[in-house]
Symmetry: C2
Subunit: 426 residues, 2 copies
C-alpha cells in the first residue's frame, strides 16, 4: 500500500463528464489499496473567464483581490470532484489550500510555498478517505490572506504536498504520455523517456520543455519526491522523474543513457550591443542595468575585441516578453554605458541537448556541432553546463536542428514505436 498524490490539470476536469471520468480513476486507485490525495486545477477556461470579468470591472485590479477571485476556480472543481468520487461509493473530502495547510509568503499572484502543514489531509487519509486539495492556492501565515502560486502552481502544490506527507510518489496527470526525447510535434520519432533525473528534468524545463514547470521539479529535487508524469487519457506508465541513480529491480544502480533529450525554445530574443568600450567592469555595468529593469538574461557572448578600435560587441538572449523593457533601459542609459548602437532580433531559436551522462562522455559537444554542420545549420551562440549544451540558431532552422540532433544521438524510436506515439493525437 502506497501513499500517492495525484494531480489533475484543468483540461482533465474541463466539464462534468471529464470530472466523472477522473473520479472513476481516483476511485479505482483507492479500491486498488493505495491512499490517495488529489490536487486539482480549475475547470478548463474558468481562470481565463474570471480574468476577463476582472478586466471588465477594473483595468488594474489589486493583486490581493485577484487572488481571491481566481481561487474560486479551484473551489468549484475540488468540490465537484469530491461529489463525483463520493457518488462512486468512495468517501472523499475537499480542502482549500488554507485547509490543507499550504502556507505561502505574501507575494500575491506568484507566492512561494514556505511550509506545508497537512494535518487535516493526513486525518482524512487515516480515516480511509480520499482528500481532494485545491491546487494553485495557499494562505499567508500572519494575515490569513489567500494567495496564488502563479504559472504551474498546481503542479507545485502537488509536489509540495507529497513532500509534506512523505508520499511514495506524486503523479502529474496531463494530456501527453510523459516526457519525450523531443517535442513529438517537431520530431515525430521522439520517444517517451521512462526515467529522467531531477537535474536533467530541470535543464529540460529551463530549456523550453513545457511538460513540467521548473519550480515543481526544483521542489521535487529538494525534498526527493519521485514525480510520475503520465496521461489522464490512458493507463500507460509515463515518465518517472527521480534522483540520478536509477535502481533496477535487482537493486543494482542502472547505467544512465548519455542523453536524456533535446529541448527547444522559440520564446527568446537576442540583443546585440555594438561598439562597447573594452574596459574592465563595462560588461558588469551593462548587466546590472538590464537586471535592474527586472529582465532575466539567459546566454551571453562577448566578441574578441578588435585591438585597433578598443571596442567590442556584446550579445545576450532574454525572454522576448522582456525585450521592450531591456531595449528601453539600454537606450536610456546609452550616455553612461557609451556604446555605438543596439540590435534586436526575435527570430532566433534555441536548441538544448540534455543528459547527465555527458559529464563522463567527452566529445558530446563535437558530435552536436558536427550534426548541425552536416545539416547546414549555422550556430550563433553557445552555452554549456555540466549536463546541457545549448545553441542559438535562426528560428527557421530550429525544427531541422532538433530532428538532426535527435537522430545523431540515436534518440529516434524504432519504426513501430514511432507509430504508437505518433498516434496519440499530439
Amino acid at each position: 500500500m502506497a501513499l500517492v498524490v495525484q494531480k489533475y490539470g484543468g483540461s482533465s476536469v474541463a466539464d462534468a463528464d471529464s470530472i466523472k471520468r477522473v473520479a472513476k480513476r481516483i476511485a479505482a486507485a483507492k479500491r486498488a489499496g493505495d491512499d490517495i490525495v488529489v490536487v486539482v486545477s480549475a475547470m478548463g477556461d474558468t481562470t481565463d473567464d474570471l480574468i476577463d470579468l476582472a478586466q471588465q470591472v477594473s483595468p488594474l485590479p489589486p493583486q490581493r483581490e485577484m487572488d481571491i477571485l481566481l481561487t474560486a476556480g479551484e473551489r468549484i472543481s475540488m468540490s465537484l470532484l469530491a461529489m463525483a468520487v463520493n457518488n462512486l461509493g468512495v468517501k472523499a473530502k475537499s480542502f482549500t489550500g488554507q485547509q490543507a495547510g499550504v502556507i505561502t509568503d505574501a507575494v500575491h499572484g506568484k507566492a512561494r510555498i514556505v511550509d506545508v502543514v497537512p494535518s487535516r489531509v493526513r486525518e482524512t487519509i487515516e480515516r480511509g478517505q480520499v482528500a481532494i486539495v485545491a491546487g494553485f492556492q495557499g494562505v499567508t501565515q500572519d494575515t490569513n490572506d489567500v494567495t496564488t502560486l502563479g504559472r504551474g502552481g498546481s503542479d507545485t502544490t502537488a509536489v509540495a504536498l507529497a513532500a509534506g506527507l512523505g508520499a511514495d510518489v506524486c503523479e502529474i496527470y496531463t494530456d501527453v504520455d510523459g516526457v519525450f526525447t523531443a517535442d513529438p510535434r517537431v520530431a515525430p520519432s521522439a520517444r517517451k523517456v521512462d526515467r529522467i533525473s531531477y537535474d536533467e528534468m530541470l535543464e529540460m524545463a529551463a530549456s523550453g520543455a513545457k511538460v513540467l514547470v521548473l519550480r515543481c521539479v526544483e521542489y521535487g529535487r529538494r525534498f526527493n519526491v519521485p514525480i510520475h508524469v503520465r496521461s489522464s487519457f490512458s493507463n500507460h506508465t509515463g515518465t518517472l522523474v527521480t534522483d540520478e541513480k536509477g535502481i533496477d529491480e535487482k537493486g543494482d544502480v542502472m547505467e544512465q543513457p548519455i542523453i536524456a533529450g533535446v529541448a527547444h525554445d522559440r520564446s527568446e530574443a537576442k540583443i546585440t550591443i555594438v561598439g562597447v568600450p573594452d574596459v574592465p567592469g563595462k560588461a558588469a555595468r551593462i548587466f546590472e542595468v538590464v537586471a535592474g529593469a527586472g529582465v532575466n538574461i539567459d546566454m551571453i557572448v562577448q566578441n574578441v575585441s578588435a585591438a585597433a578600435t578598443g571596442l567590442t560587441d556584446i550579445s545576450f538572449t532574454l525572454p522576448a516578453s522582456d525585450g521592450t523593457a531591456a531595449m528601453a533601459t539600454l537606450t536610456e542609459r546609452q550616455p553612461e554605458i557609451g556604446y555605438a548602437s543596439l540590435q534586436y532580433d526575435d527570430t532566433i531559436g534555441k536548441l538544448s541537448l540534455i543528459g547527465a551522462g555527458m559529464k563522463s562522455h567527452p566529445g558530446v559537444s563535437a558530435q552536436l556541432f558536427a550534426a548541425l554542420a552536416n545539416a547546414g545549420i549555422n550556430i550563433e551562440m553557445i552555452s554549456t553546463s555540466e549536463i546541457r549544451i545549448s545553441v542559438v540558431t535562426r528560428a527557421d532552422d530550429l525544427d531541422d536542428a532538433v530532428r538532426a540532433v535527435h537522430t545523431a544521438f540515436d534518440l529516434d524510436s524504432e519504426q513501430d514505436e514511432a507509430v504508437v506515439y505518433g498516434g496519440t493525437g499530439r
Copy 2:
C-alpha cells in the same frame, strides 16, 4: 459620521456593469463621510449554475461539498466588487465569511450564526477603507469547515455583522423601493411604508411578504439593529424596520398607524381529516404524527362535534411543498388515528392584516370580515395573533380580497402617489 452596513443581492451585481454601478454607490457613500461595510450575494444566476453542475456529477452530493461549491459564488462577486471600488479611488478589501469572523453551527446548507467576531472588518474600517464581506457563508468553529446559511442568508449575514459591529443601520438593497402596504402587483394602490416595527415585519414576513426573510428580521429585533430596506436602482428613502416606538425629530414618541399592511400567501395547502373520533388527546396525536414527518403546520380549525355521531372534522394548513409528506404519513397512520377520510386542497389563499396598532383598537376583526363579506368573499379559516389576523379564502378570490381589505383600512395611496409607485416597473 455613521457606520453603515450595506447589503446588495444577486440581481444588483448580476454582471460587470451592475457591479460598477454598485461600486459607484459605495464610493459615494464612503466619500460622504460614513464608514461602509458591504455584504454581497453571488452574481445573478451563479448559484443556480453551480447547483446545475453539482447535479450533473452527483444526484445526491454531500452537503459539506455543496457548501464549498456554492460559496465560490460570493468569492467571485466580493473580489470583483472590491476591484471596482478600488478602481474609483476608494480603498476596499474583500473578506470571506471566515475572514469576517462569521461563526456558525455545523448544519451544512442551513447553518445558524452562533457568533460574529469581525476584528478584521473593524481594522479595515478603522484604516478608512471599505470592507466587502461575502454573504450567505460562515465557518464552523471547531473544524474550520465552510457553511452556508440557507435562503435569505446574505440578509442575515448583513444584520448579524451590523449587530457585531454596533452599526448605526443595516441597509438592505433590493429591486423594490421598500416594504409596501400590500404587494403592488396585486394592489396597484399600495403605498410604501416609511417605518414598520420588528414585530409587524416579522408577521408580514411570516405571512408571505417576500421583501425580507423571517430570520433576518428576528436577528435585527434580537440585537436591535435598524434595518433600512431600499432600492439599489434609486436614491429614494425606503422602509425603516425598527423597534416599535418611533421617535420623531422632536424626540417625541410618534403615533403608530393602526395597520401596517396586508400580506398574502399562495404557497399553502389545506388538509381536512374527516370523521375523527371526538375524544380527548386525539387532535394532539394527529399533530404529533404530522410534526414527526417534519411538516410545519400553520392554521388549525376543529369543527364543533356532531353530538349524534361523536365524530368531528379537523382542518389545517401547511406549506404545499410539505403536502405529499403529510398525506403519506396520515394515510399510513389511519388505523391508529381512526379517521374516515382525507381531503387535500391546494387551491387556497391566505390573507393577513398586520398592525401593532390593532392591539389597542377593538373592532379590527369585525371591519375585516365586513370588508370581505361586502366583496362577496367567503372565509374558510381564521387565525389571529395580537398584531395579525389571517383568513383563508379560495385562491381565486385572494387578489380581490387583498384589494378590498387594502381599501377598507384606508391604505390606498393618493392618486399621484399611486402613479409614482405604479411606475417602478414591478
